[in-house]
């Protein structure tokens, strides 16, 4: 394993233009050597943990601050974090577990890896605070199998934190114990689903469990477990330092705080942008340098492929927050914007996206296992010039039959792009079927 030092030496932040950003989870970006413990401590790192533990601050007070902050799950579902924490059984005879979901595997998502790369200690502190609050003795950070360097950085940061006495036994001279481990996954998208992730931690094949029971009552090794996203955990120290209200005030109603947006696709400056919730899309697009090559915006997938695609007309007036995007006909998801210019063929794009879900379906339950393959094959057939007009209704129908009928949300995620692409770009599909070639690129 490489050491943190050698890792951070050359790890100059990718984004130097931090203007207009509200850096919370990536606050170390302003510093040299951002991933090191020293840098984090200089910014007041681990002080909140120390304060809570040594002052024996009551769990309910911590949870109240998190509730007040309006922090919602940053992994994509947007479930209020404070509320989720309150589901953990307070009294339990045995070990409770904490799990961080860094299994970031959807196309266009790349925010959590940057938190680990540039600010791993804030994540560790956030987890330790959660562990203290929820009485969890053991934590795991499940890191996506396709990212190696981040895994190594996190292991190195863990070693630092352990040596400095921020994780381990009898922390700060109290009876508070918290052991935190990194788990490197194998790259399956499905393991981002929390119960599949739990199965994977247990050493089993990553397949979602039927819920209920939820992880709060039956999680890792059948024990009460709280699962949060990396960005959610990394927001916690800031919330406790500045108060829940201060975090909430950064955003807008229903969407507290700042949020990392991963902007990719046809923009001049793709990358992560941590900005306040409620920022108008146009402003965010401008930060990312606007549409590349002076072209026109055609469509945006605002929260990763599992969220509905939005045509330019719908997204241009939208604000980047839960309610704003929901009103505009999509959702915030994990905040992974895939920006498409006018040269994009939506039929071919959908083929690629449906291939992803077809390939990543775990195969456990019928509608997703059979349906994703069906959908992909029909779209593929259309792109090969063998489409039929009734295929479009078939695709809609099959997608509707997958959606809401599966064990986990992958079924819904697979159906959403199909339904939204056909809804917003139906003429393009019809053209492809009629002419056997794309309306956009003529091929």
């Amino acid at each position: 394993m490489s050491t943190l030092k050698s890792e951070t030496k050359d790890s100059k932040p990718v984004m130097t233009d931090l203007k207009g950003q509200t850096l919370i989870t990536l606050q170390t970006l302003k510093e040299d050597n951002p991933a090191s413990l020293a840098t984090y401590e200089k910014l007041g790192g681990y002080e909140q943990l120390k304060r809570l533990v040594t002052n024996k601050v009551k769990a309910v007070e911590v949870i109240n601050q998190v509730k007040l902050s309006g922090l919602r799950g940053r992994g994509g579902a947007g479930f209020p974090t404070g509320l989720k924490w309150s589901f953990m059984p307070r009294y339990y005879d045995g070990t409770k577990y904490l799990v961080c979901n860094t299994d970031e595997g959807e196309p266009g998502t790349f925010k959590d890896r940057d938190i680990i790369r540039y600010n791993p200690h804030q994540l560790i502190e956030g987890m330790a605070i959660a562990a203290y609050t929820l009485g969890a003795g053991v934590g795991y950070n499940y890191i996506h199998g396709e990212i190696w360097r981040e895994y190594e950085i996190f292991e190195a940061a863990l070693a630092e934190a352990r040596a400095a006495g921020y994780i381990g036994q009898n922390l700060f001279g109290t009876h508070f114990n918290f052991e935190l481990y990194a788990v490197h996954g194998y790259g399956a998208y499905i393991c981002g689903e929390e119960t599949a992730l739990i199965e994977s931690i247990e050493g089993k094949k990553g397949q979602p469990r039927f819920k209920p029971p939820f992880p709060a009552s039956y999680g890792v090794f059948g024990k009460p477990t709280n699962v949060n996203n990396t960005e959610s955990f990394a927001s916690i120290p800031w919330i406790l330092q500045h108060g829940g209200q201060a975090f909430a005030d950064l955003g807008v109603a229903g969407s507290g705080g700042s949020k990392l947006f991963s902007v990719s696709g046809h923009v001049e400056k793709p990358g992560n942008y941590e900005v306040n919730m409620g920022m108008p899309f146009t402003e965010l697009l401008a930060m990312a340098g606007g549409i590349w090559k002076g072209r026109q915006l055609k469509a945006v997938i605002p929260g990763g492929p599992s969220t509905a695609v939005m045509p330019a007309s719908a997204i241009l007036d939208a604000t980047m927050d839960y309610n704003g995007l929901s009103k505009a006909g999509s959702s915030l998801g994990a905040g992974s914007l895939i920006v498409m210019d006018e040269t994009t063929c939506m039929v071919k794009t959908l083929k690629r996206l449906s291939y992803f879900f077809y390939e990543e379906s775990c195969g456990q339950c019928t509608p997703c296992r059979e349906g994703t393959g069906w959908v992909y094959r029909v779209i593929k057939r259309i792109t090969e010039g063998n489409g039929k007009m009734e295929d479009l209704d078939l695709l809609t129908d099959v997608s509707n039959n997958i959606s809401g009928r599966t064990i986990c949300a992958l079924g819904d995620a697979a159906a959403t792009p199909v339904l939204s692409f056909i809804k917003h770009f139906r003429p393009e599909f019809e053209y492809y079927i009629q002419h056997g070639k794309s309306m956009v690129d003529g091929q």
């Binding site: 399956a188 499905i190 094949k205 039927f210 209920p212 077809y358 390939e359 990543e360 379906s361 775990c362 195969g363 456990q364 339950c365 019928t366 509608p367 997703c368 296992r369 059979e370 349906g371 994703t372 393959g373 069906w374 094959r377 029909v378 057939r381 078939l394 039959n401 809401g404 009928r405 599966t406 064990i407």
Partner: protein
């Protein structure tokens, strides 16, 4: 109780009930594939989606617990649309090969498709193809038909105790497979055929031999172990085509062991005896019944007249029915002879007359899973009672602590809390240690009879035995049980051990100290019934062993192959050779019966009616499911006519039911059993705890697929991994002590008989023991299943010489 409504019908159910269970209770049919009441809930097929008021999306009925006031709609537009959509998904990749699929006609997918499927498919893309897997001789696979319900996976893991199948690959590429190059070896494997809702797993021996609608289904009772499992025999054109379990929750639930499922193949074996035969000048000649019976009766009469009635010995299979047992006993007694016995694999008869009643299991089969502490003595439970092992597994899953004392460290596929692996003789000492430790822990030493107390004084309790005793009194790692439910059971190896008396007496005493239930786990279908009827030597008679040790002039054999079914193969063989007359009532013209004088073809259990009494004292009658083959006759009829021919009175039964009536003599069968089953001892017997056994001891269990004449003729079972070549297995330490390496040939000698076999190290065998399985041609020269044995390393040349001599002797 929760009040809910399903399709408008109100029903009250317990907390925690799922929608599907509530609907089943109400008789509302919800289609399902992955759900099975005996397996964990997977909720993966999605066929059971139903609409629930106030829920935006359909919910799986199998995994959704009901809540107060829940209104469930199984036939609403939304529910049916969801079910139909799942059906469509299931069918898109399922081959349309029903006409050539063995499952056709009894296929869940086919049935449900009639109700929920469309007449045509909207799917026009390529269909998925999955390669078949070879998972052994019993189960045939057509994996393209699989719908990934994982019932088979869950069964093998949860009921079978070992996950031998799993789903590998993702999405559409997900497929059920075994470990690389491995077959499914569970002795309960056949159940996954019944569980498979499609034709992916079908019955290999039965394959393509009949369609399900051509088969007549007739109830019967499984005849190979003493559980009394309920079976359904499927018959076509008077031939048994296959055997399936018949649901009986308190016995076999909905399962069946492979032995009971596939043994029927032995019924159609080419060496079935179809006509009576008499040996004339050393040549077998076919004859008619009258001649055969008169000849047999004449021979028996001549010998008993000349040498006294004591010159006759009757050996009876414990797999024969109560009616047959009763008649042969009456026949032998009628001749003034007391030599009749069914305990062919027992050497120690010191308990005869010392027990209050008939020994039995001491509890009901379905009580096992409720036990907290279990002690198994001398039992390879998966080999002896494959399906019963599953009940023990359930107990362990429920938190019971299992302790094992045995000469073999076999894996029972469940967690063992404590085990002590010692020679059969040392089991006695271990039991005495446990008794001593327990009486101390229970502060009961004063209550023990002085005889026992005195004996225990010399016993030194070792730490591992102490730990086992602590477990049995209820002390646990985290929680101590104040009044644990304890079960103590003696298995086949204990039953055939020369120190069975000591083991039984001490087990009884331990049971007394701990308030345990339990008893013996008799090997055969009707062992308990035979004991109850007294198919045992009269006061002046000889027991099975004595009849062979002091050879009789004439033998009457019922349903046995002496050298394979008796404890002492060599002794049985020589006794038959020396006898002047052997009358064998048998279903097979067996090599083992070459020395017989008359062969009378009798009907196996499928061709006759009768009654078995199971290990739990359940008396179960069955009828013939097919007509007797050829000239075969039910054994009860043969015995009746033989008795008549011998001029005996009181054998005028017209049916097996009449014999049964006579046996129970007006008493209700269950009362009859109840008043007679009792494991208690009338008096203490002399117990020796320090048994000197300087040499090696044989552990000679009978492999499960060699247990009786029918099952040892089942070709599919012979092809399984359980049918291993006979080897001498030794603990690696003993291998070193005897300077042996794997593959060396050893001369194995027991009494005066010997044989030559290759040797293999086996850490699962207790030091001081030699494991040589019995009931096989290769071990016919050997003696007792459990007894002294010696081994000697020989060269390959010596081995070849020995074998050629053996061949000569046989010819």
């Amino acid at each position: 109780m929760l009040k809910i409504e399903i399709d408008g019908k109100p029903v009250e159910v317990d907390h925690g009930t799922t929608i599907i269970d509530a609907a089943d209770k109400l008789g509302v049919a919800i289609p399902r594939f992955c759900y099975h009441k005996k397996l964990s809930v997977a909720a993966n097929c999605r066929m059971c989606l139903v609409e629930v008021e106030k829920f935006g999306k359909p919910l799986p009925a199998c995994a959704t617990p009901v809540a107060e006031g829940m209104k469930i709609f199984t036939r609403s537009k939304a529910a049916v649309q969801a079910q139909q959509s799942v059906m469509e998904f299931l069918l898109i990749n399922h081959p349309l090969d029903c006409p050539i699929c063995d499952q056709g006609g009894e296929c869940d997918l086919q049935d449900v498709a009639v109700g929920y499927g469309a007449s045509g498919s909207r799917y026009t893309e390529e269909k998925r193809v999955v390669f078949n897997k070879n998972i052994g001789p019993l189960i045939s696979t057509d994996m393209t038909r699989c719908i990934q319900c994982t019932r088979c996976v869950r069964f093998l893991k949860e009921v079978g105790g070992m996950q031998e199948l799993g789903m590998v690959g993702r999405g559409e590429h997900a497929e059920i497979t075994a470990y690389v190059d491995q077959s499914v070896n569970s002795e309960l494997s056949g159940n996954i055929i019944d569980l498979c809702p499609v034709g992916a797993l079908t019955n290999k021996p039965f394959r393509y031999s009949a369609r399900s609608w051509e088969l007549v289904r007739r109830p019967s009772i499984a005849p190979h172990d003493s559980m009394g499992s309920h079976i359904e025999v499927h018959v076509k054109d008077d031939k048994v085509m296959r055997v399936l379990p018949r649901e009986k929750e308190s016995i076999n639930e909905c399962w069946l062991s492979d032995r009971d499922r596939y043994s029927y193949e032995g019924l159609n074996s080419p060496d079935r005896l179809k006509v009576p035969m008499i040996k004339h000048h050393g040549e077998w000649q076919e004859t008619d019944w009258k001649t055969a019976l008169e000849y047999a009766a004449g021979q028996i009469k001549d010998i008993t007249t000349e040498h006294g009635s004591d010159a006759l010995g009757a050996l009876v299979s414990p797999n024969s029915t109560m009616e047959e047992g009763y008649l042969i006993k009456e026949l032998v007694h009628g001749l003034g002879c007391g030599n009749v016995d069914y305990r062919l694999r027992q050497t120690d008869f010191r308990l005869d007359g010392k027990r209050v009643g008939t020994p039995w299991m001491g509890c009901n089969i379905d009580e096992i899973e409720k036990l907290d502490r279990i002690l198994l003595i001398g039992s390879n439970i998966r080999n002896e009672h494959p399906l019963l092992a599953q009940r023990f597994r359930k107990a362990v899953d429920n938190g019971a602590e299992l302790s094992i004392i045995s000469p073999l460290d076999n894996n029972p596929l469940m967690d063992i809390a404590h085990k002590i692996i010692v020679t059969p003789n040392d089991i006695v000492n271990v039991l005495a240690q446990i008794l001593k430790a327990m009486s101390k822990l229970q502060k009961l030493s004063l209550c023990l009879p002085p005889q026992l107390s005195e004996l225990l004084e010399q016993i030194h309790v070792r730490p591992n035995t102490e730990a086992m005793a602590e477990s049995l009194v209820g002390l646990g790692e985290t929680v101590n049980l104040i009044a644990p439910k304890v079960g103590i059971f003696l298995g086949n190896m204990a039953l055939s051990a020369p120190r069975f008396t000591e083991m039984y007496s001490l087990a009884e005493a331990i049971g007394g100290v701990s308030g345990a239930k339990g008893g013996i786990l008799p090997a055969a279908a009707n062992s308990t019934g035979m004991h109850l009827l007294g198919v045992m030597p009269a006061s002046t008679g000889m027991h099975a062993r004595a009849m062979l040790e002091v050879p009789r002039k004439a033998y009457l054999l019922l349903n046995i192959e002496p050298e394979l079914d008796c404890q002492h193969a060599a002794l049985a063989r020589s006794a038959m050779e020396k006898a002047d007359c052997v009358v064998a009532l048998t279903a097979y013209k067996s090599k083992a019966l070459d020395h017989a004088t008359v062969l009378l073809p009798i009907a196996p259990f499928t061709e006759t009616s009768g009654t078995f009494m199971s290990m739990e004292g359940r008396i179960q009658s069955f009828k013939a499911v097919v007509k007797p083959l050829g000239e075969c006759r039910p054994a009860w009829k043969v015995l009746r006519v033989l008795a008549n021919t011998l001029g005996l009175q009181g054998f005028d039964f017209e049916s097996s039911e009449e014999v049964k009536l006579k046996i129970f003599d007006g008493e209700k069968p269950s009362d009859f059993a109840r008043s007679r089953l009792n494991n208690n001892m009338k008096e203490l017997v002399e117990i020796e705890t320090k048994i000197k056994s300087p040499g090696l001891q044989r552990v000679g269990e009978v492999p499960q697929y060699e247990a009786d004449p029918i099952v040892r003729r089942s070709e599919p079972l012979r092809k399984t991994k359980y049918n291993i070549k006979r080897l001498v297995r030794l603990h690696p330490d003993e291998m070193r002590a005897y300077d042996l390496v794997e593959g060396d040939m050893v001369l194995v000698t027991q009494d005066k008989g010997s044989t030559v076999l290759p040797v293999r190290p086996d850490a699962h065998v207790a030091p001081g023991c030699v494991r040589v399985a019995a009931a096989h041609e290769d071990t016919l020269g050997l003696g007792d299943l459990m007894g002294d044995i010696s081994i000697e390393k020989i060269t390959q040349e010596q081995a070849d010489v020995f074998k050629s001599k053996q061949m000569e002797a046989q010819n």
